[in-house]
């Protein structure tokens, strides 16, 4: 491709990415709504700021991933959206692992486990969806899809593990809510993706699998009315 074409594609891609980024950029209203949805009623200003930072860490990556992934995957549909959300979530959780550098630091004197973030039934459902998809894809020798299912499962579980592992913020109530949000959305996306990848083909069976996957996603990420105090 000539250089002027490359530059033109890069320019327009950047312009589209910037437009999406501006549309997605979160404000206080989005942070407050996010916290209330995940069980933090009447969040204070510091909690809202934490939620906005949490959203920014993700949404900063979404436009560029959304534009970069289709040529790699050869897909412009739901596969691109799910991959964008998962990779964006993974980058955000990796960034959140950086330790606090402020002089005053807070922590909760209680062990934090995987089941504090994602309920056990959702983890079991995720295991069943992944195992079902893997067995079916091995059985039908669909190796490319098998690799996609394995990759999706690994990324979802890594995001969840990182959400448990990341250092605590001072706003303990919001911190726990955001950990739960990360873990549950990742596990929910993993279940839906495995259902869709494991049963391809456009027949009744694949339709039922996709519907079941979507229902599981909605159940896992259902609104949390109120969460117990973090400390």
């Amino acid at each position: 491709m000539p250089w002027d074409n490359v530059l033109a594609v890069a320019f327009f891609t950047g312009l589209i990415g910037l437009t999406i980024l501006i549309a997605l950029w979160p404000g206080e209203k989005h942070g407050k709504r996010l916290l209330e949805r995940w069980g933090v009623p009447d969040p204070d200003a510091a909690e809202v700021a934490l939620a906005v930072r949490y959203l920014k860490r993700r949404r900063l990556w979404y436009p560029w991933l959304y534009l970069a992934i289709p040529p790699v995957l050869g897909d412009t549909g739901p596969g691109t959206i799910i991959t964008t959300l998962l990779v964006g979530g993974l980058i955000a959780e990796l960034l959140a692992q950086r330790p606090s550098r402020t002089p005053r630091r807070e922590a909760v004197l209680a062990p934090r486990t995987l089941t504090d973030v994602v309920p056990i039934w959702a983890l079991v459902l995720s295991g069943l969806a992944s195992a079902g998809a893997l067995v079916r894809l091995v059985w039908t020798a669909q190796w490319t899809l098998l690799a996609a299912a394995v990759g999706t499962t690994v990324v979802c579980w890594v995001i969840t593990a990182l959400a448990v592992r990341r250092p605590t913020a001072s706003e303990l109530r919001a911190d726990l809510a955001l950990r739960r949000r990360s873990g549950r959305v990742a596990i929910g996306l993993g279940i839906a993706a495995c259902a869709a990848i494991g049963w391809p083909g456009g027949n009744l069976g694949s339709l039922l699998a996709v519907v079941a996957g979507l229902a599981a996603f909605l159940a896992v990420t259902a609104p949390v009315k109120r969460q117990p105090a973090a400390a």
């Binding site: 002089p103 005053r104 630091r105 004197l109 062990p111 934090r112 250092p167």
Partner: protein, 121 residues
């Protein structure tokens, strides 16, 4: 139960962790058998080296405040002869009352100050 470490207050971070756990156990905020977070989790959350938190846990274990079991991790234990939390609270209240009287405060003013202190701390 929250723990706060300030790296600029002049006290070694391991000592701050140690003292806060002792205070919480003494006050009854951490009852007997309560599991403490693993060393690595607490170190990560507080932005400290694992060795710093490990030292605090070692000192707590040496003082009989916690016990480390392979399966259960680090759990709070009641050392023999530990003061009764109610008695400790009464002692603190007597000290505060004496100081409040010196300042000319009556019961209501003293209680109002306690309530205000609870709200800001």
């Amino acid at each position: 139960m929250k723990i706060v470490v300030d790296t600029e207050n002049g006290l070694a971070p391991w000592r701050q962790v140690h003292d806060q756990v002792v205070r919480a156990v003494t006050a009854g905020a951490l009852p007997d058998g309560t599991r403490l977070p693993p060393i690595r989790q607490l170190a990560r959350d507080l932005g400290l080296a694992s060795g710093t938190v490990a030292r605090a846990y070692r000192e707590l274990e040496a003082g009989g405040w916690v016990a480390t079991a392979r399966a259960r991790g680090t759990v709070v234990t009641i050392p023999a002869g530990r003061p009764d939390p109610t008695a400790l609270l009464l002692t603190a209240a007597i000290e505060y009352t004496t100081r409040a009287r010196d300042l000319g405060a009556d019961v209501e003013a003293a209680v109002t100050a306690v309530r205000a202190a609870y709200e800001v701390s």
